[in-house]
């Protein structure tokens, strides 16, 4: 090719010969340039323009969709995180409430038990006091009855009417011997 061009440059006849052989003709060359420009304009206007516009629109839509999808995914992740946090918080609250309830129940149970114990002690002490009072009363009545019986028996046996001092003395002696 270089040799061809060099030869053509040195000898104008060669270039003319090439033009003649291959039919390289200026008017036809210009006509073909015009035709080619026409092709470019037509393709740009009717093919590349609309098709590239729609491709660009689709590309934008896909990008937009991708962005929205990413946003949705992000929001979903945030929502899941918030939900998980709320659940964890609720769990903590529930555990705290349960613990508090258990603690309260234990305290209440202990209080109730203590109250019951106190009440029971009180009842027992009242019962003991009542029993003691009954016993004292019965003992007193028994002493009196015993003294009266002893005095009556002594009076009957001795035939002597006993004074208060005698009755007191005989009663005390009788009681001492009974109690011992």
């Amino acid at each position: 090719m270089i040799t061809l061009l060099a030869t053509a440059a040195e000898n104008p006849g060669v270039l003319e010969n090439i033009q003649k052989t291959f039919g390289l003709n200026m008017p036809f060359f210009i006509a073909q340039v015009v035709n080619f420009i026409l092709v470019i304009v037509i393709l740009k206007k009717f093919a590349f323009g609309p098709v590239q516009a729609i491709l660009e629109e689709r590309r934008n839509r896909i990008a937009e969709g991708e962005n929205k999808l990413q946003q949705i995914e992000k929001q979903l992740a945030e929502a899941e995180k918030t939900t998980a946090e709320a659940i964890a918080k609720a769990n903590q609250e529930a555990v705290r409430l349960i613990n508090e309830a258990m603690h309260g129940a234990t305290t209440l149970s202990e209080q109730s038990a203590q109250e019951a114990l106190a009440q029971a002690k009180q009842i027992i002490s009242k019962a003991e006091a009542a029993a003691k009072a009954d016993r004292d009363r019965l003992s007193l009545e028994l002493k009196r009855e015993f003294g009266r019986l002893v005095a009556a028996t002594t009076t009957q046996v001795t035939g002597k009417i006993l004074t208060s001092d005698d009755q007191k003395r005989i009663n005390e002696a009788a009681l001492t011997s009974v109690e011992s």
Partner: protein, 284 residues
């Protein structure tokens, strides 16, 4: 059934084509140059083919883009696939910026060459004659057409190279030493790279010529081969069988038509990429 039908169609078209050639006198070899249809008309048979190619492209584009929809179907789908594939290929090769900027040209070049090459394979092209001159001739089998495309590219190449690099960058691209030379080494390298720059200018000057003759040679060669193969059949049988030897080459020409369109586009794109390539700067 389908095989029989398609074979019959081939046979019929081949016979019609041959019949047309015989009827109007025929010709032994395809002339190197495109011929005027009439002395009074400044129109050659290849110009007619260019107009037909333009009409086909316009028709296809109008049909494909008639009802543009976001969800493509039919011809729109095919057009989008073809354009997007080429666009992705070119932007992959030249980079997004340059690809976007120049796609209108490279896309036009590719589709025009492809359509023209395939139209040249249709029966009657080259065989249907008027007053002994073929009415139709493959558009790229005319050197004026290939030269028109190559020289258009050469002009645009200069424009794009200057606007992308500015004049200083453009000259530096051609003449400045490449690499990180310093001191004495740089001084020694300057004349070498100046000489390389001169060679580069010769190479740049040759590019449109090479592009012109490569495409013309391949397409003209293909048509000439088919013509010669059709003439292999004896005269008496030519009407019925001359299509037969050329048939396998039709398939090869289908491939050649596509490959040549791709080669022309690819070479133009590479030439532009080479001059607009900023090397390491691009990585920054």
């Amino acid at each position: 059934m389908r095989f029989l039908f398609s074979t019959s169609i081939f046979w019929l078209l081949g016979m019609l084509s041959t019949f047309a050639a015989e009827e109007h006198g025929g010709h032994e070899a395809l002339p190197l140059n495109a011929q005027r249809l009439h002395e009074s008309l400044p129109i050659t048979n290849s110009i007619i083919m260019v107009w037909i190619a333009v009409a086909v492209i316009v028709l296809f584009c109008k049909m494909a883009t008639k009802k543009m929809a976001l969800v493509p179907a039919g011809l729109q789908n095919f057009a989008e696939w073809a354009i997007e594939s080429l666009y992705d290929f070119l932007t992959g090769l030249m980079g997004k910026h340059l690809g976007q900027r120049t796609f209108w040209f490279f896309g036009s070049i590719f589709f025009f060459i492809l359509v023209s090459n395939y139209l040249g394979l249709i029966p009657f092209v080259g065989t249907l004659t008027y007053g002994g001159t073929p009415i139709l001739r493959g558009a790229n089998a005319d050197i004026n057409m290939t030269a028109a495309m190559a020289s258009s590219f050469a002009l645009l190449w200069f424009y794009w190279a200057l606007t992308e690099n500015n004049l200083k960058g453009f000259l530096a691209h051609i003449f400045a030493p490449k690499g990180s030379f310093k001191g004495l080494m740089l001084v020694m390298m300057i004349p070498i790279f100046l000489f390389v720059g001169v060679l580069e200018m010769v190479s740049i000057a040759i590019r449109p010529v090479a592009l012109t003759f490569r495409l013309f040679g391949n397409i003209y060669g293909g048509e000439q081969t088919m013509e010669s193969l059709m003439n292999l059949i004896p005269k008496g049988l030519q009407l019925y069988l001359s299509w037969l030897p050329a048939l396998p080459f039709y398939f090869m020409e289908l491939l050649v038509g596509f490959v040549q369109a791709l080669v022309f586009t690819l070479l133009c794109a590479i030439f532009l990429k080479l001059i607009c390539d900023h090397g390491e700067e691009e990585h920054h």
